[in-house]
């Protein structure tokens, strides 16, 4: 029988050492081929060492344990190690051999070891489904959750603005200008993309290229040509209002 090759990825050294010590004690026949301190290290070690079993911490710098498992899907038996993670149960359902909650205890790890040993003869489960599921979760959460902050370039720097600071989104080519009470910044997102994630009762689209914070509107005036312009509280800019949005202001 060939020797079982194990990879351990855990970013905190004391925990990594403790896990290695426990494994050596509970599974002396196996050989640890890589003990990695972050996700990137683990990714290259997985390819290089082709381990049979991988103990992966879920939260790690560089790449998460979930990312690693998905990209190395079907090639190693995966055991997730996590302090507290809502994904752990789902990961288990989708084919991980086991998941361990930190702090890892000897009795629990010995259970895991026997479970893994029992599966060694089988082909490792495909975890691609897991990646798909996680991606769907992530997309669902980002689509349904309203935007709370944005990062925009302001001069030479990138600045973070909470949504409550923003007064106007103004589409400009591929970019969107963001106006706050004091700043005039640029973000690399289209207005259309942004619109889906803005609370509609707080932000009104008044023009094909303009979305304003309703509470910041000071006045809407008509010029000699019959075009409507909008003025904001605390700012001097005027913004266009298209015909189809006039109705919104009749009631003001």
């Amino acid at each position: 029988m060939i020797e079982t090759r194990i990879l351990v990825a855990e970013d905190e050294a004391p925990q990594r050492d403790a896990l290695l010590a426990l494994l050596a004690e509970l599974w002396p026949q196996a050989r640890v081929v890589a003990a990695c301190a972050d996700g990137l290290e683990a990714a290259s070690a997985l390819e290089r060492e082709q381990p049979h079993v991988a103990f992966l911490d879920i939260q790690m710098p560089g790449a998460s344990g979930l990312d690693l498992a998905a990209s190395f899907s079907g090639r190693a038996h995966v055991v997730f190690v996590t302090a507290h993670d809502e994904y752990a149960v789902r990961a288990f359902e989708h084919g991980a051999v086991d998941y361990l909650l930190k702090p890892v205890r000897r009795e629990r790890l010995s259970e895991t070891v026997s479970r893994v040993k029992a599966r060694l003869g089988e082909r490792p489960a495909a975890l691609v489904e897991l990646l798909g599921q996680l991606r769907r979760d992530l997309e669902a959460s980002t689509q349904h959750e309203p935007l709370k902050w944005i990062t925009a370039s302001y001069g030479e720097t990138v600045k973070l603005y909470t949504l409550d600071e923003v007064l106007v989104f103004h589409a400009q080519d591929k970019y969107t200008r963001v106006l706050t009470a004091t700043d005039d910044a640029l973000i690399r997102k289209s207005l259309r993309e942004l619109l889906q994630r803005l609370p509609p009762d707080e932000f009104w689209q008044v023009h094909r290229s303009v979305v304003v914070r309703a509470a910041a509107i000071e006045s809407v005036t008509r010029d000699a040509l019959g075009k409507h312009w909008l003025k904001l509280k605390g700012r001097t800019d005027t913004l266009p209002v298209s015909a189809s949005f006039h109705a919104r202001f009749r009631g003001l």
Partner: protein, 395 residues
């Protein structure tokens, strides 16, 4: 619900004025049919009529330079018009001054205004005659036999005109005033409740110090691993954890809201020390002069920024990371910055609670005097800065 009583000798609440305000017509700032209202209204109308009267006097004088005649036109016009507009309101004001029960007051106010309208007919007839007598051009002979219907129309039109200027518009306001006042009181109450709610929320945000399960369990796992291999570091880690928990665990004491910059730095130091012991790759420095440590500073805001720097900056980045905390006092106020060299800013939606909470706390405490900003550079790293402008509460 008890009806709101209007103070007759005081200006109306400012919020009401925004809806009714009439620029130079300052009488609109007072309750209808009150003395201050009547005085200002009479002055306002008087001046306006004096202008018109002067103009028509000028007109007559240009036609025939007869000063006495012109003066007579002016006086008749001004006084007549003033009487027409003021007689009714004067009576209504006299009624309202008695503070009778509402129903009675309303009936008598309306009666007073009607009496005023009748006065207006008499006044108009008198002044018109006097003015016409003074006019130079000869009118055609009067047609005394105006048809009945035309006469009626004439009277109706005049009544409407007299009614409108002689207190009709005021009457509308008179009937609206109590309702508006009740609405206003309700709005004020609502605003007050909202403000109180906000203050409570801010307090709650403090009490719900978010000790993340992930942080806690990882720390315990680290300690457990260290107990066997390195008991001295295990002890150190537990000490730092205790310091951190003591400072951040929810407290319901009244003084939970007061703290100094020094106390906040101690919390930060225990947290950073803990993370340094756990991660190994995290270095930190606190660069704050001892004189600033006694400055009053809101609790749990800085630690929130430091936790963000670790969690979203240094933790996701492989390799060594560094966090510095700096404070300085400048003429424009106190500035405390948390600087990291982590992965930098990214768009997000989930974990913004921390920053939002910091901003709300600052707003609740300092209104517009304080701010928190996050800036980063394209190469990564973030600087989070709390700025508090000088003022009573920051000394």
């Amino acid at each position: 619900m008890s009806e709101a009583r209007i103070e007759l000798d005081r200006a109306l609440p400012g919020e009401l004025l925004q809806r009714t305000s009439g620029g130079i017509a300052s009488y609109l700032h007072y309750p209808v049919f009150s003395w201050p209202w009547l005085r200002r209204r009479t002055l306002f109308f008087g001046l306006a009529f004096l202008c018109f009267g002067t103009l028509s006097a000028l007109g007559t004088w240009l036609q025939r330079p007869d000063s006495v005649r012109a003066l007579s036109v002016m006086l008749h016009f001004t006084l007549g018009a003033l009487l027409i507009t003021t007689a009714g309101p004067l009576l209504a004001t006299l009624v309202r001054q008695r503070r009778w029960p509402r129903q009675r007051e309303r009936i008598l106010v309306v009666l007073g205004l009607l009496l005023g309208v009748m006065c207006s007919f008499a006044t108009d007839a008198w002044t018109s005659k006097a003015i016409e007598a003074n006019l130079a051009f000869e009118r055609g002979p009067e047609k005394p036999n105006v048809a009945g219907a035309a006469m009626l129309v004439n009277v109706v039109v005049l009544t409407i005109i007299y009614g409108l200027f002689g207190g009709g518009l005021a009457l509308r306001r008179y009937f609206e005033e109590p309702r508006q006042l009740v609405e206003l009181l309700r709005e004020r109450e609502l605003a007050e409740l909202r403000a109180r709610n906000q203050a409570l929320d801010a307090k709650l945000g403090l009490l719900q110090a978010q000790i993340e399960p992930h942080f806690l369990f990882n720390t315990l796992a680290a300690v457990r691993s260290l107990i066997g291999s390195n008991p001295a570091v295990a002890t150190e880690t537990i000490d730092a954890l205790v310091d951190y928990l003591r400072a951040t665990i929810p407290r319901l004491r009244a003084d939970a809201l007061d703290s100094t910059l020094g106390q906040q730095l101690e919390i930060i130091e225990s947290y950073l020390k803990l993370m340094h012991l756990r991660m190994g790759r995290l270095a930190y420095e606190l660069d704050v002069s001892p004189s600033l440590r006694s400055v009053s500073f809101p609790p749990l805001l800085l630690i929130s920024l430091v936790e963000n720097a670790v969690k979203h900056g240094v933790e996701p980045k492989p390799g060594p990371g560094r966090i510095s905390v700096r404070a300085e006092r400048r003429p424009d106020g106190l500035r405390v910055s948390v600087i990291d060299d982590g992965v930098g800013l990214r768009d997000g939606s989930g974990a913004g609670v921390g920053l939002r909470n910091v901003r709300e706390q600052l707003r609740a405490r300092y209104a517009d005097r304080a701010s928190v900003t996050l800036t980063g550079s394209a190469s990564g790293g973030v600087v989070a800065t709390i700025h508090i402008a000088p003022g009573e509460a920051s000394a």
